[in-house]
Symmetry: C2
Subunit: 210 residues, 2 copies
């Protein structure tokens, strides 16, 4: 498989972590978002939203949207499970993961920030304030949607933890005050102690720069 | 089951349509978003994101996030399927649905528009321009992610069509130019001709007002 990815993309991180946990080898195809490579016609053909990650299967089929890719990987390679098989617990894991995936990430996306700055004339400072606002809001909800345990849902890692690890990268990058989110900080640390998750972190990617 | 819903909420529409198609009876619990009922503590306890829909099962368990709820309903009541069972086609349906669910809807959410207006001082006109921009962008991507057929993926309705019907409500409401999206307009019309989908439309809800 090939993964179209950018080191700092936290949606790419989710799929890197999923592939690593499942022991699926893949080749990283760098899409440099800062240099606009997501807008090159050959990439847009496989990613109409101009986004990473895109997973290319060995037969050339391409899949978009991290959440859809994670579910696909969990179906074709069930161990370790990223989503529980019990439908009710599965729905709760999904709801937590989607709270990061829908309520925080898309609102703080690169193209939204670009629009805020170029079309609406806001400063970088206001853009950072915008990001912090939605992260704080979303984390507060996320914390109420998860359950007890070492990880978000008990003793095993799930897709909710993976989404949290990715969002925490952005939270630290943009200086969100994490004091109110002690449990999330602890889960994030425990998750990053897992070698397959550590290997998915931005700084450990072949295309990482400073 | 009880569905916490607001007539104009297009994420509520998705679950009303899913419940109707599957023939599951439910009671509508109105959460008037314009009157701020999503912020009442008793509701926030079951919906930490302050959002509708929330599905309450007969044992009192509550589920949030429309996408997670739709998958849950599809598992406990498989006919007619909203998501195909083939993992690859399923991932494509998911990716299309998530393109509306992630790239359009959360960015145009009520709370985002409120922030644009109150915190960042923009006019209603600029907020409408914002909504149209992300709808046009997202619809263009969505159209490339779906496949041939009467509906988004062949001859049967899927969750991708349901998400499209919901987003089309907002597109018409906010005056998006639909000329470039003739195929989407046709699929939306065909979908709304299905009685279970028609019954899920905003104007047919018990809490609908003008």
């Amino acid at each position: 498989m090939k993964l179209y990815s950018y080191w700092r993309s936290t949606t790419s991180l989710r799929i890197r972590a999923a592939l690593n946990l499942k022991g699926i080898e893949y080749e990283t195809m760098t899409v440099n978002l800062l240099e606009g490579e997501q807008n090159v016609p050959s990439f847009v053909r496989i990613s109409p939203t101009h986004g990473v990650p895109v997973l290319e299967l060995d037969d050339g089929t391409t899949l978009t949207q991290s959440h859809a890719i994670a579910e696909y990987l969990d179906t074709i390679s069930p161990e370790p499970p990223l989503f529980p098989s019990n439908p009710l617990i599965r729905a709760k894991v999904q709801a937590a993961a989607l709270t990061i995936g829908m309520e925080i990430h898309p609102v703080n996306n690169l193209r939204i920030l670009a629009y805020l700055k170029s079309e609406l004339g806001h400063s970088q400072e206001q853009a950072v304030e915008w990001m912090r606002h939605w992260m704080a809001d979303g984390f507060a909800a996320f914390e109420k949607l998860i359950e007890d345990g070492e990880f978000c849902f008990g003793g095993n890692i799930s897709y909710a933890d993976i989404c949290l690890v990715g969002q925490m990268v952005n939270a630290r990058r943009w200086g969100l005050d994490l004091t109110p989110f002690a449990r999330l900080v602890a889960i994030d640390e425990r998750s990053r102690a897992i070698p397959e998750i550590a290997a998915a972190m931005p700084e450990n990617q072949p295309d990482a720069t400073n």
